[in-house]
Each structure stands twice: as C-alpha cells, then as structure tokens.
C-alpha cells in the first residue's frame, strides 16, 4: 500500500473563525462525517456529524440518559438550530485526531480504532492539513493491499 498521504484524501476543511452554519454546510455539501478545523493551515480540531447533532439539539441532550418517553418533537428544537447558526465553530469542535502522511497502515488503523473517528486529519511534518482520510476509504484500501499481497 502507498503511504497514508498517497491514499484518496478528501479536501475539505473549515477555518477556525468560521461559524457553525458554515461548518455544517461543508459537512453536508461534501456528504462527510467529519471535517478538519484549521488555523493558519494547521489542524486545531475536528467538526463532526456528532457536533452537528449536539449543536442543533437542546444543550442538555448529552446529560439525558433516556428520551424515548417524548411523544412529540421539542418545540425548542428549531429555536436551538436558529441560535447555534452564528456561533463560532471553535466552540463546537472536538480534539483533532491526526495521522502523519508517512505513517504505517498499522498506526493509522490504531488511530481509527482507538479514536473511533469516522475520519482523521492527515498532516505533513509541520502539522499542516493535507486532507481528511475517511475510515471506510482506509479500510477498503487496506483490504485491497492485503488481497493483492495474498494473490
């Protein structure tokens, strides 16, 4: 298999100064599970579909252990979605999971398994973003390589 940096990387990122709405649009338009949040070219965080869900839901959602008792949608759902639009993405990002472009397949696999992220940010020596590597793409590439080696 090529180096991690040579696999198909998705070129999608948002600037740390962008709004929640702009980050959500990048996710949605590219049909991605996760995009890198960058500042001066360096990855400072990830904005994933989970941040999107948490952002548009009531802020106590994470603390609720059960919700099946709700029979109808909360009236505040739409209001929350409106309120969150202009908030900075910096307040809604999670810690970045990065993999160096020259990393081994085992290291990349370990990062995916332990972080449980749908995509990781592939970076160069200076920590600059080269692109997002999606877990599905990586798994399929690894399978192709192992199958080819067995033939």
């Amino acid at each position: 298999m090529q180096r991690i940096g040579d696999l198909t990387l998705v070129q999608a990122s948002v600037d740390a100064g962008a709004t929640f709405e702009e980050a959500a649009r990048v996710l949605s338009e590219n049909r991605l599970a996760s995009v890198a949040v960058v500042e001066h070219g360096r990855v400072v965080g990830l904005f994933t579909d989970e941040e999107l869900l948490l952002g548009v839901s009531p802020r106590y959602l994470d603390d609720l252990r059960h919700t099946a008792f709700l029979e109808a949608e909360l009236p505040s759902l739409r209001e929350r979605a409106q309120a969150v639009r202009g908030e900075p993405v910096r307040d809604h990002m999670r810690k970045a999971v990065t993999v160096h472009a020259g990393a081994t397949a085992v290291h990349a696999a370990e990062r995916f398994v332990h972080s449980d992220e749908a995509a990781v940010a592939v970076v160069d020596d200076e920590g600059r973003l080269l692109g997002m590597l999606e877990r599905t793409e990586f798994a399929h590439a690894l399978l192709r390589r192992l199958t080819a080696a067995g033939d």
Binding site: P58, R59, Y60, D62, D63, L64, R65, H66, T67, A68, F69, L70, E71, A72, L74, P75, S76
Partner: protein
C-alpha cells in the same frame, strides 16, 4: 508532625473547594504526603481506610448505576412530574419530593444527575426557567439525603463509625425533621420564585403527553434490577436484627446485580468534613454514648451541603449540567438561596434537637 498533618489537611480542603484539580487526586496526594513524611506509618494508614463506608458506597453505586440504565428512575421522576398537571408550583413541590426521596434511598449525586436533565426538558416543554426548579432539587437532594443511613456520604461515614446506630435509627431520628425541612425550604423557594413560575395554560398539557414507561419497554432486566434494589433497601431495614453491616447488605445486593447485568462504573466521593468530625464527636462524648451528638453531626453536615454551590458533590454536578445546558448559575446566585435555606434548615434542626433529642 501534627502541624504538617494539619497543613496538608487544610491545603487539601482548600484545593478541593477551589477545584484546582479533581478531588480524588487531591485526597490521594494528601494521603501520600503524610505517609511519605512519616506522620502516619503504612500500617496505620491502611487501618485508617474506612472500608465499610467504601463498601457501602461501591455496593450502592453498582446497584443504582445498573438499575438506572433500565429507565425505572426516569419513569418515577416523570410519573411524579405528571401529577403536577403542568402547574409550576405543584411541579416544584413534586420535583423536590421525588429528588428528596431518591436522595434518601439512592444517593444524592445520582438523584441530581438523573432529575436535573429531565427537569431541563420539562422546563423546556413548559417554557419556564429551569433555574428555580434545579435550585429546589439541589437543596432537596441534600435535605433528603439526610434522612437515611445511605442517603448522603456523611451519614454513611457516621453509620460506619458507630455501628450501634442502625438504618432504622437514622430514619426514626432524621427522616421526620428532614421531611419537615424539605417542605419548609421548598415552600420558601416556591414563594421566592413565584413570579418566574408561570406556565401558559396551553403549555400545561405538554407534561401529560409524555410516555414515562417508554424507556423501560426498551431495556432488559427491568424487573430483576428493581427487585435487587428493593431487596437491598429491605435488607437495610433488617440489617440490625440480621447482624449484618449495611456495607455487607449493599455489596451482597451489588453482587446479585452484577450477576444479572453487566459491570457498572463507580465513582467514589469523599467528604472531608465528616471524616474530620467523627473523631471529634467521639472524643467529645468520652466514655458515654449519646446518639444526639451524632444526629447533630448528620443534620449539620448534610444540611450544610446546601450553603454553597461547591458544598456538596450533587451541587457541583447540578451546576455542571446547567452550565452545559447554557444556563449557568453563578456562585453568588446560589449563595443567595443556599445560605438562607441552610440557615432555616439548621434552625429547624436545632429546635428539633433541643425538643426531642437533648
């Protein structure tokens, strides 16, 4: 050497109060310093660990943690909230009552982490500020926890230090005064926040539309978990005639629970004030045994948990939930309610102790 021990103790208390780092780290660091410095030798340090308190806490946390997953407590909280018919003052009293009772028989931290998020949702549905409701719940959790041996860590520690005080002794001596205090403090807060506690008539029906049992229908082990929890509580009532320590009852219940479900996580909390006061009350008593001093310590330590936002783990937990929900409550705002509530509670406790215990 004694000076060093006092300095470490006060330093640890300050570090916990100011939240410099997690209190577990502070407690372990303090313990390490006094052992390494030779203030206490290793043998006595191990002896100083209160195993029956730890056993009771661990046992109850396993039982409650696993029962919580079944949605039973959510069911109870919502059913009780529905009795209000969406009328806010009634809701304040019912939430205070359900938090108080849950704190008495589970523990107040669990009760708070369970009831506060549900309250935020109820407040959302009814379009009222959640702050008065959550404040009442925090106060109710500390007052309710005072009622039983297992309700609040100070009481667990007192029960462990004086095994002659049974589960029933705690209930007989503390539950009535706790209940009266709960009603008084709740009434005070309901009055204080009466202008904020207004729900538009068309929204009052929202609470009735919830289906409290929905989560239980999805969960496994509902009946078995509930049977173990209730069995353990019955075990607490009978621990004295059975000659079993409450910790043994809790751990036996937890073992049964673990067999029928998966391993739950447990977080052990520490209550430095009670740890420090138990030997003091012991020495004040000399050779005689007067349980009034212990009831005074239980009432003081548990009710005192209402004074500030950091005075009890449950308060800190509730403020964390509120902050995450975007409705933070400041130290001073809590203080303005907490200190009068504590003063009223302690007044009731003092009158009670003078009339019935001394």
């Amino acid at each position: 050497m004694e000076v060093l021990a006092v300095v470490v103790f006060l330093g640890a208390l300050a570090a916990i109060a100011l939240e410099w780092t997690h209190r577990t780290k502070v407690a372990l660091l303090g313990a390490a310093v006094v052992v390494v410095a030779g203030v206490i030798d290793e043998h006595h340090a191990i002896e100083a660990v209160d195993w029956s308190t730890l056993g009771l806490l661990v046992g109850m946390m396993i039982i409650v943690g696993l029962t919580e997953r079944t949605g039973v407590f959510t069911y109870i909280a919502l059913r009780v909230a529905q009795l209000s018919g969406g009328r806010p003052v009634r809701l304040v009293f019912l939430l205070a009552l359900v938090t108080g009772v849950m704190s008495a028989f589970l523990d107040n931290l669990t009760a708070i982490l369970l009831v506060v998020p549900i309250t935020l949702l109820l407040a959302d549905l009814l379009r009222v500020s959640p702050i008065p409701l959550v404040l009442v719940e925090v106060l109710a959790s500390n007052i309710g926890g005072t009622a039983t041996l297992i309700g609040d860590p100070p009481n667990i520690m007192i029960g462990s230090a004086r095994p002659e005080l049974s589960f029933l002794d705690f209930i007989v001596n503390l539950a009535p005064v706790a209940f009266f205090t709960l009603l008084t403090v709740t009434a005070g807060l309901a009055f204080l926040y009466r202008k904020q506690l207004v729900v538009e008539p068309e929204r009052q029906g929202e609470v009735a539309k919830l289906d409290p049992a929905a989560d239980m229908r999805e969960a496994p082990y509902v009946k078995r978990s509930l049977a173990v929890l209730l069995g353990t509580i019955v075990g607490f009532f009978l621990h004295a005639p059975l000659h079993l320590e409450p910790a043994v009852v809790a751990l036996a219940g937890a073992t049964v629970m673990l067999i029928i479900a998966a391993l739950g996580s447990a977080v052990v909390d520490n209550i430095p004030f009670t740890a420090a006061m138990i030997p003091v009350v012991d020495s004040l008593q000399g050779d005689g045994f007067d349980d009034a001093a212990w009831w005074a310590l239980a009432l003081g330590a548990c009710f005192g948990g209402n004074a500030t936002i950091i005075a009890a783990a449950a308060n800190v937990a509730a403020s964390g939930v509120l902050e995450r929900a975007g409705k933070p409550i400041s130290f001073v705002r809590f203080l303005l309610v907490g200190v009068p509530a504590t003063a009223v509670s302690l007044l009731i406790a003092t009158v009670y102790l003078m009339l019935f215990q001394l």
